[in-house]
């Protein structure tokens, strides 16, 4: 039995049989520890963020001049490092399916309508407090070929850099109460319930705009550059969010 290597106790293993695509893509050799040299203590985050524009409203960024179809939502939250320091002026890239569960992508064969007014990607920068804010439409669930009658829960893909190379994060944000999460091997590849919960946004009525859009809050924690061993998952209830 080859162990399923993982970088962090709360992170998914590379090999997770229920997610079939991992079987021929997960490395089988042990990961090699590296010291924290300047190469690891730095990272592209600051340089990339300085060169990137905001494009934070996915309901209007298609270029057609008409709004995207679907349930308009606002997603906001705070990005911090694992010491709780805000990650300011950081680039966030997002992409997602449209309201019907269809991506604007040549390989998406799902029989759901394309929305010509929704390209499904955008980006924003965190402010000096680490706060980001996106306007988009709620993505639909969609089927995939991993197993019989497999459906991905609604999700938005997020990509962030942070200050150092180990801070780099590509992940997915889920929506509260989605019954498909329990059935989803990608979501369930995260080994602990507490860590899975950190992938789920919370409905936030204070973010909801009257007669306009529902609000969700989702905070993100990026690993710092220090090679500090992390506390065990059993203690995660004591960890502040």
């Amino acid at each position: 039995m080859t162990p399923a290597y993982t970088v962090h106790a709360d992170f998914p293993p590379y090999l997770y049989d229920a997610y079939r695509a991992t079987v021929r893509r997960a490395p089988k050799e042990p990961l090699v520890d590296v010291p924290r040299t300047l190469s690891e203590l730095t990272g592209p985050g600051p340089a990339v963020s300085a060169a990137s524009d905001e494009d934070a409203d996915l309901t209007t960024n298609s270029g057609t001049g008409a709004p995207a179809a679907g349930e308009r939502i606002i997603v906001t939250g705070r990005v911090v490092d694992d010491d709780g320091n805000p990650v300011s002026n950081g680039l966030i890239e997002v992409w997602q399916a449209n309201a019907a569960g269809r991506y604007r992508h040549r390989h998406d064969q799902h029989h759901a309508p394309v929305d010509v007014n929704f390209i499904g990607f955008g980006r924003c920068l965190t402010d000096r407090h680490g706060i980001y804010r996106l306007t988009t439409i709620k993505p639909g669930a969609y089927p995939w070929q991993n197993h019989e009658n497999a459906w991905r829960p609604a999700h938005i893909h997020f990509s962030l850099f942070g200050a150092a190379l180990p801070s780099r994060l590509v992940t997915q944000m889920y929506f509260p109460g989605d019954p498909l999460m329990d059935l989803d091997p990608i979501f369930n590849s995260v080994p602990t319930a507490g860590a899975r919960d950190r992938l789920i946004a919370k409905y936030a009525h204070d973010v909801t705009q009257p007669n306009w859009a529902l609000g969700y809050r989702w905070d993100i924690v990026l690993r710092g550059s220090e090679a500090t061993p992390f506390e065990s998952p059993e203690h995660e209830h004591a960890v502040r969010r």
């Binding site: 997610y19 021929r24 990272g43 340089a47 200050a163």
Partner: protein, 209 residues
């Protein structure tokens, strides 16, 4: 100090192209960038040797003088583990900050043959805890089926100090070759080939970063 629990990663999935890839992200040089031009290219392969056609490769490297475009580099020193890292160890204290026309970051999606390529410059030697590290490029790989991205380093077969590099020395000797890019072709611009094998007999060394 309270440490905050990190947000776990998830796969990029197959539909990342619009969100992550914009024209020119794999051309890291501008006409004004200082240094020797080079091309880095290769193929991403799975455990069956099948090209991975939906991967993203990201590079992070120092400029021709060995400087990263990063606030830590601008400050002139950084803490690395218990060792104090001197950015300009053994070199000229008056060298300028990182070349402002070269961010050191690149990104490329693999094509229908699993191939990627970058136009960049040859990185300088980067200071390490004890003397310089051999010139190298930090590489990250994202793909459908990778629940967390993979990290490795690319060294040059003809790079100064590659044999003695302190990070490469930590890798079992029989696996070091998977981190060495080989010069190919005879054009005026050097081309280095660096295949990334996710799994199997020639599996690339990946880091617990």
């Amino acid at each position: 100090m309270t440490r905050y629990a990190p947000t776990p990663p998830q796969t990029v999935g197959p539909f990342f192209h619009g969100g992550l890839l914009r024209d020119g992200m794999n051309i890291m040089v501008s006409p004004r960038s200082a240094g020797e031009r080079m091309r880095i290219e290769g193929q991403v392969l799975d455990g069956d040797g099948v090209p991975v056609t939906d991967a993203v490769v990201e590079l992070w490297q120092a400029d021709a003088r060995g400087r990263y475009m990063h606030p830590l580099a601008a400050e002139g020193s950084a803490r690395g583990g218990t060792a104090r890292v001197r950015l300009s160890a053994g070199s000229d204290e008056s060298v300028p900050a990182a070349d402002g026309t070269f961010t050191g970051f690149g990104r490329c999606g693999t094509d229908d043959d699993g191939r990627y390529w970058f136009e960049t410059i040859r990185p300088g030697a980067v200071p390490g805890p004890t003397g310089n590290q051999a010139p190298h490029v930090n590489v990250a790989v994202f793909a459908r089926g990778l629940l967390h991205h993979l990290s490795t380093r690319l060294y040059f077969e003809d790079g100064a100090g590659t044999e003695d590099d302190p990070v490469l020395q930590r890798v079992p000797q029989e696996r070091r070759g998977t981190m060495i890019a080989h010069r190919t072709g005879s054009g005026s611009t050097p081309t280095y080939r660096f295949d990334i094998v996710l799994q199997g007999p020639n599996e690339t060394v990946f880091f617990n970063l």
